[in-house]
Symmetry: C3
């Protein structure tokens, strides 16, 4: 199955790529590398999922938010190169808006990592850091940025 077919089999639809409101862009290419701007968990209606993980939000809920972020990142990848079959994920920085005591960042960011491997297969496997932030824009629960390689 192609990545598009896998998305369909999972019942997932890529969202539109949001237009940034400032002097930055959703992604930028440098040679074969594609740098994606950090994204948050955007619902289908355009609203963002907010809250502190470990207080208002459970690890399991935040896993679903990270998956939602991953879907937005896949949409940006497809927008950038036209075909997800040309994408290899290289590096993920997963940032969780947790309490100072929150300790399950990897279990949250797995929501994104698992989606990448489900959709892209082995090319979705990546180096990763999953860490806890002091705060995030608009109090979103999770923000993830990614570096990909564009296959010829």
């Amino acid at each position: 199955m192609s990545p598009d077919e896998k998305l369909a089999a999972l019942g997932l639809t890529l969202p539109p790529v949001p237009k940034p409101l400032a002097n930055y862009v959703p992604y930028k290419r440098a040679g074969e590398l594609l740098y994606l701007s950090g994204q948050g968990p955007r619902r289908a209606d355009g609203s963002m999922v907010t809250g502190k993980v470990g207080a208002d939000v459970s690890t399991k809920e935040a896993y679903a938010h990270a998956k939602l972020v991953g879907l937005g990142l896949l949409a940006a990848m497809k927008d950038a190169v036209g075909d997800l079959g040309k994408i290899e994920v290289i590096k993920v920085l997963g940032m969780v808006n947790g309490t100072p005591e929150f300790a399950e960042q990897p279990a949250v960011i797995n929501g994104c990592s698992d989606l990448f491997v489900e959709v892209l297969g082995d090319k979705g496997r990546h180096a990763r850091s999953a860490v806890g932030m002091g705060s995030l824009p608009g109090n979103i629960t999770v923000e993830i940025e990614v570096i990909c390689r564009i296959l010829q």
Copy 2:
């Protein structure tokens, strides 16, 4: 106008590039990529701007600090390649020393992003994450690191 002429028209002067006091360097090149070390807001007298954004420091004040960081980053870029006309900004990681509730990181980091586009034009547009840290060195308000591409 060249980037140097734009800086002059904006009334801005590039500061000296501070010498790191440890086993790291202000920037490092890998092929056509140039990685800049994270910088903080350094005043012309060499002192750093400190405080927690959202408590001691407003978003508007922190925007000015991010612009100050951007000026130091432009200085490092010029030091690395000699001519800002050869620089394309690829990726910005903007880190704000905010309270746990602070939510306006993008409005802060715009201070740096706007400067890059004012000085470098479209080559200043970049992929970006703007996030909140738990703490920063010496309690500086903002730290920003950048990846550039060196144009031939």
Copy 3:
């Protein structure tokens, strides 16, 4: 002396590279760049060093933890390319699990930077950010991720 000889002279032994338990990998290559996943301070018995720097843990103790992380990162580099003589360190992101007031992140991350230069010489010097996180996985004291260049 080769990097392996320097490690021996320092009385240091590279630990095994831990197998990630999820859909990510300890390192991933893209062209001449090698991206290492974030690592924490893993003791020889496999347990992790935990605590909040600035509260439970001193800067001097955390310097030793960052050195321990650096040793694990050198192990991943060697696992990836077979010979540490082929490695140039390009970029370090040093993340400290500190209190909101903690301000000595650079002094902590020097533990890793110093080790890289001791073992790899000038090829160990790197661009760097050393910053404070809100929280880290399993409450580890330090997490560090690295980008290297593979020399031909």
